[in-house]
Subunit: 79 residues, 2 copies
């Protein structure tokens, strides 16, 4: 069974670059990758926060959060 | 031809965790991953610095640096 990898981003250049190189570099044989654009799906900010995401871009693999570089704090995405 | 992915770390828990989940999650069909333990290979700190690494753990894919979470600043690894 594949592991779940969630990549949260907000559309900024830092995020998009990390999405292209890191999220898409994961082994498709082992990971089901879902890209979540929090700018377009603000309803999922709470979900990201619950997962422990503090800033974007962030990659969550099997529940573990990896903040990659720094694009924006999650607080900036709250309405 | 495979892309090169360098994962620099220093042996701390933050680094080792990221190594296990992120570096090893990369697609082996597309990436040649090299793990560099800067604590054991201090001679390579300069190389990491030249690549733009500011803290460990860090992943360098095709010359682009991705700092993952934060374990230690590179300056802490200089002799």
């Amino acid at each position: 069974m594949k592991s779940t990898a969630l990549f949260y981003h907000a559309g900024c250049p830092v995020c998009v670059d990390a999405e292209r190189q890191v999220a898409q570099a994961l082994d498709p044989a082992r990971f089901q990758v879902e890209i979540v654009h929090l700018g377009e799906a603000p309803a999922r900010v709470a979900e990201a926060e619950s997962a422990g995401v503090q800033s974007v871009p962030a990659l969550v693999i099997d529940g573990n959060v990896y903040h990659i570089n720094f694009g924006a704090p999650l607080s900036a995405l709250k309405g």
